[in-house]
């Protein structure tokens, strides 16, 4: 009773906006008693605290409704809370100012005034950054919900296999594949097999992805001929498949070459595979040499105006696999690249690995009994010298392949192989050696149409990449006498001179 009085009184006080607590005149029985009673006391005390908490919570709602609802927005703005009470938005239409409590429920008067209205423009013009983040949070949540509702149910792990090696285009290509994989909304393991042994360079790039990566070194160096490269890559993929078997990874194995570009639908589509699936690969056989263009425009037109070649499963009208679309290399006869970096079109194999996906359980050593008989054991194929063109070699009966992507009609990934020349140099880890001696302040931006200014301040720096065996590309400040002598000219010309001279030196 007394406690209730206490509460009552302080409820009242609360309503008087928390004025200082006046000492209470009521007393407690055995306030400082011994153990059992004091424990009980503690409990009561705690309980009351909890009740106060709840009351406060309730009270805040009431306050919120009675007083602040018209100015809710200001509250949320100032308190920067994550969001106000859940009641607000639903009640938005009813949240009328206190001054006019009899709102819509009163039939007699409409609050709508006919005639001209002012255009309300708030004094704070720019979007509140916190609200922007909240909105993005909402968008994110909605998209997630869409995935849950309409996406693949109980998805399997995606096991991506990528052969790679350190070269100029590696960072670019690998970054592209990495970003695709980072977007995959499913569990993912990325097995990266690196020719020439695993390097820190590759490892640090892979680490930046935050994905589950298995980085495997492969002792052999990547050969310079395309033919050999294809062979080695096939063996690297087999190495990866053995990793899958070793770790007993359960999921869907896909071959994501670092020169592939993926549509995100691919990752949904491959979830449908039961054993071995095939998707269509768009082949972007680029013409290689711009200089060649004028000389063989007519020939080129044939190739380039024809629709993009596609590799993949061929289906009949009733969506049955009847064969394969393979790459027709005839138009490229004699013009294809033989070496990495050749000035010619790089051609794909007849069927690229990237167009296949398989259930990783097919690779496991155990459960041989479950394994369909049309699958060969991993050990019997892919010996060191044997060249495996496609994963089809794993199968005794290739007709069991499941065509994916509306039976191959949908292209879900692309194949584009471009490399710099094999001897191309690039800054290690893509960090430029900034020469320390460049301390002369250059306050002139080299825009071409800008008038040349005081030449003494002029600094031009060129990068000399033409070194052959140099691991780290150097940046050399060209503050040489030579460029100084050209200072009346545009910097661009000066630079041309420099590079000419350099090639002359070689």
């Amino acid at each position: 009773m007394k406690l209730s009085a206490l509460h009552q009184s302080y409820l009242n006080r609360r309503l008087n906006s928390f004025r200082g607590s006046s000492p209470l005149d009521s007393s407690i029985d055995g306030g400082g008693l011994k153990s059992p009673a004091s424990i009980f006391w503690l409990l009561i005390h705690g309980l009351c605290c909890l009740i106060s908490l709840l009351l406060g919570f309730r009270f805040s709602h009431i306050i919120f409704f009675l007083l602040f609802s018209p100015s809710t927005t200001t509250i949320t703005r100032t308190t920067k809370l994550y969001s106000p009470t859940p009641f607000l938005p639903i009640k938005v239409p009813d949240a009328l100012p206190v001054q006019s409590p009899p709102n819509k429920t009163l039939v007699s008067s409409s609050r709508v005034v006919v005639g001209r209205h002012g255009i309300l423009i708030r004094p704070w013009p720019h979007p509140d950054p916190v609200e922007v983040m909240k909105a993005h949070h909402i968008i994110d949540r909605v998209q997630r919900e869409q995935r849950i509702q309409y996406g693949v149910k109980s998805p399997r792990t995606v096991i991506a296999v990528t052969p790679t090696y350190v070269r100029t285009f590696q960072t670019l290509h690998l970054t592209g594949v990495m970003h695709s994989l980072m977007n995959v909304p499913y569990d993912l393991v990325w097995i990266v097999v690196e020719a020439g042994g695993s390097t820190n360079e590759t490892a640090s790039l892979l680490a930046s992805s935050g994905l589950r990566v298995v980085h495997v070194g492969f002792e052999e160096e990547m050969p310079v001929s395309w033919e050999d490269r294809h062979r080695l890559e096939a063996r690297m993929r087999f190495r990866a498949l053995r990793v899958v078997r070793q770790l007993k990874l359960d999921g869907i194995v896909m071959f994501a070459d670092d020169s592939n570009m993926h549509s995100m639908e691919l990752f949904d589509e491959i979830q449908r595979v039961k054993c071995v699936g095939a998707v269509s690969v768009g082949i972007l056989a680029h013409s290689s040499n711009p200089d060649e263009e004028e000389s063989s425009v007519a020939q080129k037109d044939d190739i380039e105006n024809s629709p993009m070649p596609v590799q993949g499963p061929a289906c009949n009208a009733s969506d049955q696999l009847v064969g394969w679309h393979t790459f027709n290399s005839l138009p490229y006869e004699g013009k294809s690249a033989k070496y990495i970096g050749d000035m010619a079109t790089v051609l794909p194999r007849k069927l690229e690995w990237a167009g296949f996906v398989l259930n990783s359980r097919l690779l496991w050593k155990e459960n041989q009994d479950d394994k369909p008989e049309w699958v060969k054991d991993l050990d019997t194929v892919g010996g060191d010298r044997e060249h495996i063109e496609t994963p089809l070699s794993l199968l005794i009966d290739p007709s069991v392949v499941e065509p994916l992507g509306s039976c191959g009609r949908k292209i879900l990934l692309w194949w584009l192989r471009v490399e710099a020349r094999a001897d191309s140099q690039f800054p290690a880890r893509w960090i430029i050696d900034t020469p320390l001696e460049v301390s002369v302040p250059s306050k002139r931006t080299p825009w071409p149409d800008a008038p040349p200014e005081l030449p003494s301040n002029e600094t031009t720096i060129t990068i000399e990449e033409n070194r052959e065996k140099q691991q780290v590309m150097k940046t050399r400040p060209r503050r040489s006498r030579r460029s100084r002598s050209k200072r009346k000219r545009e910097t661009r010309v000066a630079d041309t001179q420099v590079s000419d001279r350099n090639s002359g030196e070689k």
Partner: protein, 345 residues
């Protein structure tokens, strides 16, 4: 009872209790302003909650930050590696970041347009919000670009134009102008960067350009298929101060039009476009010319003091590559026309 001493003690006890209650009350009071689902421990759950809403509904009251996170975990129990990230995401989810506005012009007869668009969108999908992608395209019957964009889930604006162009560079500039006009008209406030379709980005790049106050620039690498060279363009810095420029190699004197600073190697605060006074300048785009892109280039030139190098630690790290792949339709001048060094093999 009755003795003064005792009552005094009691009063003290009461004071303490009242203080506690009051404290709890205030706590509860403020919790009330917090986001809750239908928050109450006494409430029964909704009849047909899809499971992810059920969890936060119960907990909302006590653990504010955990609402989204909990539901996230619930939804994606499989995503072991990413949950940690998500957790962090949710916690700093409300830390405001500056808007990045990426402008991407696309050419109709670029054979790699669709593929590159998909690849770039895969990268941009990973850029933390707020982020706005302005993609410009010539009006056409095909809906390919819109379809690709739609599937990305990125917040984008798709602008179309009707004019026909013969010179691809002029067309690119027109498209960029169109995008800048959109930004200016809407007075969008953020960091504007021109992202060509053939650009490849390190994700750190996007963190760094948010730091730009007015103008920022960075080195970028231009890598070409079947070449020996990697061309670095952009600034040379002393910490974040720009002290010089890497110059592009030009053996071909006909290339007078192309500017030494690559269109993708700088970014600027969009308010430069529509709020010149803020940066202590009298001229705005409207006063000078219709050609906004020209204006921007000029501003970069004039405002060298406001130009910072990215990343701030000496702008030595390359986070942006431009891949040049000859497809037969790419303009000639975009590929350095050097002959291969035949002495190699």
């Amino acid at each position: 009872m009755g003795t003064a001493e005792r009552s005094k003690k009691k009063v003290q006890v009461y004071k303490k209790a009242v203080f506690h209650f009051l404290l709890c009350f205030v706590m509860g009071f403020f919790t009330g302003f917090a986001p809750t689902g239908k928050s109450s421990i006494f409430s029964s759950l909704p009849v047909l909650p899809s499971n992810q809403s059920a969890v936060p509904l119960q907990r909302g009251e006590l653990l504010l930050e955990e609402i989204p996170e909990e539901s996230w975990k619930f939804n994606t129990t499989l995503e072991n590696p990413s949950t940690e990230e998500e957790k962090e995401d949710e916690i700093d989810g409300l830390i405001p970041r500056r808007l990045i506005i990426l402008v991407t012009p696309t050419r109709m007869n670029d054979k790699l347009r669709e593929v590159n668009l998909r690849r770039l969108s895969n990268t941009l999908r990973l850029v933390p919000p707020p982020f706005l992608w302005v993609v410009v395209e010539q009006k056409s019957d095909s809906s390919q670009v819109s379809e690709i964009l739609r599937k990305t889930g990125i917040m984008y604006r798709h602008l179309v134009f009707n004019e026909n162009f013969t010179d691809p560079e002029v067309e690119m500039d027109h498209q960029r102008n169109l995008a800048l006009n959109h930004i200016e008209y809407h007075r969008l406030s953020g960091i504007v960067h021109f992202a060509g379709l053939s650009n490849v980005y390190d994700l750190q790049f996007f963190d760094h350009i948010r730091d730009i106050e007015v103008f920022g620039t960075w080195p970028m690498a231009i890598v070409s298929a079947n070449r020996k060279k990697v061309v670095i363009e952009g600034p040379v810095c002393d910490s974040s101060e720009v002290v010089g420029w890497h110059l592009r190699k030009m053996n071909n004197l006909t290339e007078t039009r192309s500017s030494p600073v690559h269109i993708s190697s700088f970014a600027f605060n969009s308010s430069v476009l529509w709020d010149p006074e803020r940066w202590g300048r009298l001229s705005s785009v409207q006063d000078t010319t219709q050609n906004t892109i020209k204006f921007v280039k000029k501003e970069v030139l004039e405002e060298e003091t406001k130009l910072i190098g990215i990343p701030p630690e000496g702008c030595s790290k390359i986070m942006l590559w431009n891949v040049q792949i000859p497809t037969g339709t790419t303009p000639n001048n975009s590929v350095p026309a050097t002959l291969p060094d035949s002495g190699q093999r």
